[in-house]
Amino acid sequence: MTNLTDLGIAAIRDGFKAGDFTARDVASAFNEAVAGAKALNAFIVETPEIALAAADQADKDRASGSLKPLSGVPIGMKDLFATKDVQTTAASHILEGFVPQYESTVSGKLWNAGAGMLGKLNLDQFAMGSSNETSFFGNVISPWRRNNGDTAALAPGGSSGGTSSAIAARLVPGATGTDTGGSIRQPAAFTGISGIKPTYGRCSRWGIVAFASSLDQAGPMARDVRDCAILLENMAGFDPKDSTSLDLPVPNWEAALSTDLKGKRVGIPKEYRVDGMPAEIDALWEQGINWLKDAGAEIVNVSLPHTQYALPAYYIIAPAEASSNLARYDGVRYGLRDLPDGANLQDMYAATRAAGFGDEVKRRILIGTYVLSAGFYDAYYTQAQKVRTLIARDFDQAWETCDLLLTPTAPSAAFGLGEKSDDPLAMYLNDVFTVPTSLAGLPAMSVPGGLDALGLPLGLQIIGKALDEQTVLNAGLAIEERAGFTARADKWW
């Protein structure tokens, strides 16, 4: 019999529907994989009983002929989504023990579609990080190792590092991620999986712990493009509870998947050829260009002249929004309270936040507070928002001559834990290719393209026009078919 944990979302859905196995068999197999992978630290909370309950319901629904789109499919949930009666922490100490009394819109949609929850996945604290080293609950370890005998623990990327590690290790067939500056795409690239950040406003932000509200967007991560399309269909949709939710129908992305790119023009932005990028990544990019040509696309050179200013603009805008969003953690309504002897209310706020936030979170709150403070607001924040307009305009101008863009996802393969954690700037630079898209609110996805000389996965990023997830998915699928990426991490955990 097939090893059930080797199946992806579509294969589980279809095999379950066809009667090849029961939903309980599937949930049990993944529960066992999760329980046996503590060394990866991908989960903050495991919920095997919830996965089994959903599976039993799916088995009943199959018997009664009332299957739902994701009946029989167990998934992981990034611990940034509020889940009713299940601890939700954003990987922070300040929310440790917080048990939401409500369900986030996106997770609720997935459960209503029949999916079951295997557990809450670890992440960078408040989604702030690119290596999953800022979690209060410990580092997530990538299942991948270098092929030169070096057993150094590698970063699974971040912030959705628990998600990427769990999918790559086949502990879950797919899971949710969120992307503020690359937190779906960069971890997907580091672990040889796929992930898509849809257009800003496609997925409701209601019930997702807020980091930078003008950038935060949920999206799926899975082993292949089709599985991403299936999950995204069941996550997206208008939600009156989110004022920036787009009131548009959800396309049938899976049904419309096509690898025929005839008539599509693929832009290659010259500013993404950065100094010091490994030759292997450049070579993979060339390969990707050839794959898309082979699929019928025309290649055109484009320019996105303000690319170099995207990261500094992001590191003003995101911390500014974070400093405002994280003001809610005050030790009064939920989460941690630290009340030193004789402390007044102000002392309690300051002590609680000092004890509850990690170093990176504090760093960003302080930067955000500074750039928003009187006398500096225009020089920093207003200037960054103007540069953001120029970055979005760059993309608009590119769309005059192309329909999508192809770039590498990240400037390097996965790095070792601890290699960049002492240097915040070096860590920030890892998001150089993903941040511009976030600032412009555009859909973008990462798909695995190949391995570097050390046997580590490298990803290609496809960026599309606003609301054109279909072309992004189609180009991703065209690359997936041609790359034939089947490598997986050897089990050591």
Binding site: T244, Y309, I316, L366, T369, Q385, K386
Partner: protein
């Protein structure tokens, strides 16, 4: 622009985060490193550019002016570090 010890203490106080002397000592060069890098935005000519307000054109919707929730006191208080008699409690704020 760069920050000194006094400025770091000031913004930490504005952000309601208690900091020790050692932490301030460590944060000054760290924040200056990041702020120095951000300075490059000053090179961009933005004199004729409007600041971004929405990445995807969208209208702010109005909903009917009706009560949509309520009667959930226990759920609201469920995660409070300290709740008494149906209220959140805090240290005394009035002498």
């Amino acid at each position: 622009m760069s920050v000194d010890h006094a400025t770091v203490r000031k913004i930490a106080s504005l952000a309601r985060i208690a900091v020790t002397d050692d932490q301030v000592e460590a944060m000054v060069p760290e924040l200056n490193n990041i702020l120095g890098w951000i300075e490059q935005l000053g090179e961009v000519d933005t004199s004729a550019v409007q600041p971004m307000t929405a990445v995807i054109p969208n209208v702010l919707r109005l909903r009917d002016d009706v009560v949509t929730d309520g009667d959930v006191r226990d759920a609201v208080l469920k995660n409070a570090p300290q709740a008494e008699q149906g209220f959140f409690t805090v240290p005394k704020v009035i002498e």
